[in-house]
């Protein structure tokens, strides 16, 4: 006999990313509202035919694992950052259906600013705000939406507005903005409310299917575990207490009179950026894939003002000129002069995963504190180049320490300030960067393009340092 089957749609048929003893069951507690809402959203995505266009943004909170369940694209983002990431996705992929799924902590506390900003810009996204008046994942703390007098772990006497303020009404806040297309507050407390929630969720996703702009659905939900309730009590709590504070209803539905938002296709070609900023594409050619090129990791450190950051930039620029992949990653205090600063440079034949240098092939230390701080992180067989004015110091075993009279070389050539360039000359002479004299000279010319008088001076310092290295090393 033929049957019509009412069953889960838009979600996976087995949650293999979750695994465990029951890979078809969710990780949620008994009586939790998340599973109900997942089901309604999955069904709507499936029925509207938007699964392949959808990018779900998983929050921080119990629903952090939303990607276990939803059969669509997914991003898991930092706490409260769904509006920012969603904006990025929506702007980069105009056809994407962006769905933010956020709890009361994620959306109304840490993410409140971004939520308001994204709503105010009318970003193309459907935001599903799960309000259950309590922090679930972290163990039942007070939320921005906790009711007056409601007890949680962090307000054991009940929320006192004199200390804790009042419950935040998100729909009402967002209803003050001009851009949102759709705003509605629903509940999943019991079946009659679930049927209404189902319609609102479909409407919000329809608006996304048609690219019409920002839709916000607040869903009053249950957290039996953290509120110490059974299923019936949790239903009554939502119906009798939450609804009083958060009245249900549609605040706005402008979908029928709103035209789809059409944005130009995003272009990610480097040339487009160069054209936009009027840059000379020839001066920084694209990197070329060359897995045979041994990756070099360099750390440069010294006092602020000794030019370690610009030395790092010059190395990175030399790598660019040689069409290598490069990264430059500075670290410095708030002061412009006198503090310590360092930078990490990676030069590679392949794209660089992380710009952080934990263990370096070369350490350039312009002062003693930097030498002492970073010497232990130099790889065996690596080099430590330090200014000879530092004097006696201990170099780890298996590492070559070279006391370079960098300040003197630079001073002899015309300016002690170019001591950092002298260090570049030593690196060049030792051949540890895999870059040529031409690369370094081109990079110096670029570094000093704003002060062209300094270019010949720095070229001379570079050459003097190479000569010093050839004579003394």
């Amino acid at each position: 006999m033929e049957e019509r089957i009412i069953a889960s749609k838009g979600l996976y048929t087995e949650f293999s990313r979750k695994g465990g003893a029951a890979p078809t069951a969710t990780h949620y507690c008994p009586g939790c509202g998340h599973g109900i809402i997942h089901k309604l959203m999955g069904e709507a995505m499936h029925d509207l035919g938007i699964q392949d266009r959808s990018v779900m943004i998983s929050p921080v909170g119990c629903a952090v694992f939303a990607y276990y369940y939803f059969d669509c694209g997914n991003l898991q983002v930092a706490h409260g950052r769904a509006p920012a990431v969603g904006t990025g996705v929506s702007r980069a992929e105009d056809n994407a259906v962006v769905i933010a799924y956020q709890g009361d902590g994620d959306l109304a506390s840490i993410g409140l600013n971004e939520t308001i900003q994204a709503a105010n810009r009318g970003e193309k996204m459907a935001v599903f705000f799960i309000n259950n008046t309590v922090y679930g994942m972290t163990g039942g703390q007070m939320a921005p939406t906790t009711l007056i007098g409601e007890r949680t772990v962090t307000c054991p006497q009940g929320r006192d507005p004199g200390y804790d303020g009042y419950p935040l009404h998100m729909c009402e806040l967002i209803d003050n903005l001009s851009a949102p297309v759709f705003i509605e507050r629903v509940s999943i407390s019991d079946i009659s409310h679930i049927r209404k929630a189902r319609k609102a969720i479909r409407r919000a996703l329809e608006i996304q299917r048609d690219g019409k702009g920002y839709a916000f659905v607040e869903i009053l939900s249950t957290c039996p575990t953290n509120l110490g309730q059974n299923a019936e009590q949790s239903t009554r709590f939502v119906n009798e207490q939450m609804e009083k504070e958060f009245p249900l209803g549609n605040f706005r539905d402008l979908a029928d009179q709103t035209e789809p938002i059409c944005r130009a296709d995003s272009v990610f070609k480097k040339k487009a950026i160069d054209d936009l900023f009027n840059l000379d594409t020839g001066s920084s050619p694209d990197a070329v894939l060359d897995p045979s090129f041994p990756e070099v990791q360099i750390k440069a450190a010294g006092f602020g003002g000794q030019g370690v950051l610009s030395m790092g930039l010059t190395i990175a620029h030399a790598g660019c000129v040689a069409q290598r992949f490069v990264s430059w990653y500075p670290s410095y205090g708030p002061e412009q002069r006198g503090g310590t600063s360092n930078c990490s440079v990676v030069i590679s034949g392949e794209s660089i995963g992380s710009p952080v240098v934990q263990e370096s092939d070369v350490l350039v230390a312009m002062n003693r504190p930097s030498l002492e701080k970073f010497a232990a992180d130099v790889k065996e067989g690596g080099y430590i180049l330090y200014d000879s004015t530092i004097g006696e110091c201990s170099i780890p075993e298996g590492v070559t320490g070279i006391a370079v009279p960098a300040i003197r070389i630079a001073g002899d050539a015309g300016s002690e300030k170019a001591a950092n360039t002298a260090m570049l000359g030593i690196m060049l002479a030792l051949g540890i960067t895999g870059l040529s004299a031409q690369n370094f000279k081109a990079a110096l010319s670029a570094t000093f393009s704003g002060k062209p008088k300094l270019i010949p001076l720095n070229h001379v310092v570079l050459e003097s340092a190479v000569s010093w290295a050839n004579e003394n090393l």
């Binding site: 006999m1 089957i5 009412i6 069951a25 969710t26 008994p30 009586g31």
Partner: protein
Amino acid sequence: MSGKKEPYPVINIIECKACGRCITACPKSVLLMSTALNERGYHYIEYTGEGCTGCANCYYTCPEPLAIEIHIPLKGE
């Protein structure tokens, strides 16, 4: 069951966590909590075997997406 052409729920016992929402939602009171435990140590929902109208209230109110399915035989067979 299928001979009577009556709708019926299919319950995946291992996924039930015994919250009891479906019992409250069922207008015909044809769902009951088991006395036995499932493999994971929860009581679970059982169908009495008749009286289901296929309204799907239990399906929609259940927090476990895959725990309940509603099968509705099509008429005019």
